[in-house]
Symmetry: C2
Subunit: 453 residues, 2 copies
Amino acid sequence: MPVPSKKGSDEGVSAGLAKAIVEARPEAMPEDVRHEAGRALVNIVGCALGGADHPAMDVAIRALSPYAGKPDAVVLGRRERFDPLFSSFLNGISSHVHDYDDTTPSNYIHPTSPVASAMFAYASVNPVSGLDFLHAFVLGFEVVTRIGNATYPAHYRAGWHSTGSIGVFGAAAAIARLRGLDAQRMAWALGLAATQSAGLRDNFGSMAKSFHPGAAAQSGYRAALLAEAGFTTGPTPLEGPRGFAAVEAGEYDLSDLLTGFGTQFLLSTNTYKPFPCGIVIHPTIDACSQLKAEKGIDPANVKSVRLRVAPLVRDLCDQRPATGLEAKFSIYHAAAIGLVRGRGGLAEFTDEAVRDPALAAMRDKVEAVADPKVGEDAVIVEVTLQSGEVLQHELLQSLGNLARPLSDAQLEEKFRDQAKVVDAERADRLISMCWQIEELADAGEIARMSCPG
Amino acid sequence: MPVPSKKGSDEGVSAGLAKAIVEARPEAMPEDVRHEAGRALVNIVGCALGGADHPAMDVAIRALSPYAGKPDAVVLGRRERFDPLFSSFLNGISSHVHDYDDTTPSNYIHPTSPVASAMFAYASVNPVSGLDFLHAFVLGFEVVTRIGNATYPAHYRAGWHSTGSIGVFGAAAAIARLRGLDAQRMAWALGLAATQSAGLRDNFGSMAKSFHPGAAAQSGYRAALLAEAGFTTGPTPLEGPRGFAAVEAGEYDLSDLLTGFGTQFLLSTNTYKPFPCGIVIHPTIDACSQLKAEKGIDPANVKSVRLRVAPLVRDLCDQRPATGLEAKFSIYHAAAIGLVRGRGGLAEFTDEAVRDPALAAMRDKVEAVADPKVGEDAVIVEVTLQSGEVLQHELLQSLGNLARPLSDAQLEEKFRDQAKVVDAERADRLISMCWQIEELADAGEIARMSCPG
């Protein structure tokens, strides 16, 4: 049974958060936060385009579109339109299904997918200025990241996929903010978000992983609509003895949740993935690719590979994959693609790549040892060649993390690599619109522009 | 951090459950189980009619109907039709909002609402024979009750409203069974149910309590549709280290989950509420009503009331209510309505009843003491009169529990009391159809017949 442990009093935290979201002012966002929001949007729209034609999307549309409402809201990167709740769900799947989106390393949440997925669906059918969109996004991101930090690591370690289970709060907050809810209704929206918080890590490596931000986007959007109409909840969804933190984390600290909310921004702690897979195997892809480039390794000459990794890596990614989705959570596959192909792009995480005999053979040579002294951004790779020679490479900071962030130009390149469902000119326009979203009279233009044809 | 504790091996429990649901045969249901299913259906349809015009329904429809799909599926007791997913959601709200439905005392779940709410919406737009409906309902109920027992009390005590968080498995199983899914797809349906498992007890006393079976019905229905189309999940949604039981219960025992599944039925452990409120305050309403009837108590002569109750009662119902929904979880209100009005019907749990000065005055005289020696079906009431005389009443078995079940005639009476949205003749026909559901060529007739006009 989880035993709540807290510093200070949590009384009124949910009500205080609701009030803070309602009272936040766009003017309080400094220039660097606005720019970082642009980076997050360039990244997520690109990911949504890259995932728009994934089989998980086709399956979800085939299964559920017969039940969708008025077809007016945009699904990023697709021709079909659906009601905005279902479109939110689909945007969440597409933008997360390649595991290529963003991550706050303090809590391993991918915050933008659930928040922006709801917002783009909303903005595609409701007038929202670019500035209001940007601000509501920043607030939604902030809600996710703060709740994530307050309940990390207990919530994640217990087995929750927090991108879903905490993402729902951000989607609810952002849509409720765009709808102009008052503080009481905002509190109910947070209450309805809390009571829809869900998503189990048992699904890593299956389509259901991307279901989580999809469901979070849709559930958060629904929470805002119900709350606006007067659907009531309990008063303490975050801090109550039967509320989110006690039930789903057990150990948590809500004492800083409101400190500087609306004026100090955790968006600056966001990172963008250079590889489309679980972030904890990024150091291995990076290090193995470097080693291959530097030493010109021929896979046939490799006898064995020994990785020393952070314990979390084994906890999450100790699997021999049978599908592309499973490969995204395989430390063995990560080493193999680095050493065989020298890269980790979308093509390295398909079912076909998993069946590639060269990659399969290399995977079988890899062992991974958990070492608490190795950081989660790091890895030590030892490759033993058939000759007996041992090549060692230690990587301390993985590409894409806060110490080695992707540049704006790299984010644009990542966008173009993924944006195959639209032509190059439209891809460039979408990138520009994300950078200059504050200038847009109607943020929904981005959503509409993303649709092929 | 929850530490799983298990007897025996749980390996393959999810896959085994999926297979058992797919392979179960209607012929294996004995006559008493079929009759008990009729009782559950009479009870839940009556509750849905009774809650059909509750403000929570009007709010939900106002908020979300603009996003609903093709309006073909029935909302029990309402004129409007919506797509079957949204109708499932609404049926879950209406059938639970008065806290008048049913309960399996072994785990405090109200299993029928989430399961039948999805099923009636489904059957209203898809051909389902009465026998298939009955069997799928019995299987869905069984899934809920078995998972509930396997994870009780840890799951409930942690703060989950298991009617939602476990109800979703039953809705998914029942709809997937009606759709004829194979074992692999049934397993994915259970996986998608697990990853949507949600609902916090912080919401007891608000509209969001009834949101839980509504969301469970809708999420379970969605799970079945997605799984049918091939949306994949992890392989161990129940037993995995990051699956439902470990994440949401911590302590559990899955070793009996499959024993006799499909041939031994826990439906026989179901009970039906005689009072529309949290079941743990039923003994107090019952005892105080008896005391008033036997002793002719005049509220003005009461000086103080002392209740000795099971500890769970204080845990759940220690509140001074401001609304009718809160009164459903107030041990003080329970004593007051028994001693002042001698009854606990729908009229005793309205906002108006909460404001009744006679009830408010009596509530203020009541104290409740937790006593581990008092059973959860029992209460000891001590009323001290102004004269100094003390009247004591000990109740060991509350009306409606397994030792004092409501009779079929009492269930019919309860149905008619609630079925105000249809005329008396139609109410009688609905009751007959529930009793004789096995004879129906099309179970959807019940749903359609419940609509006014």
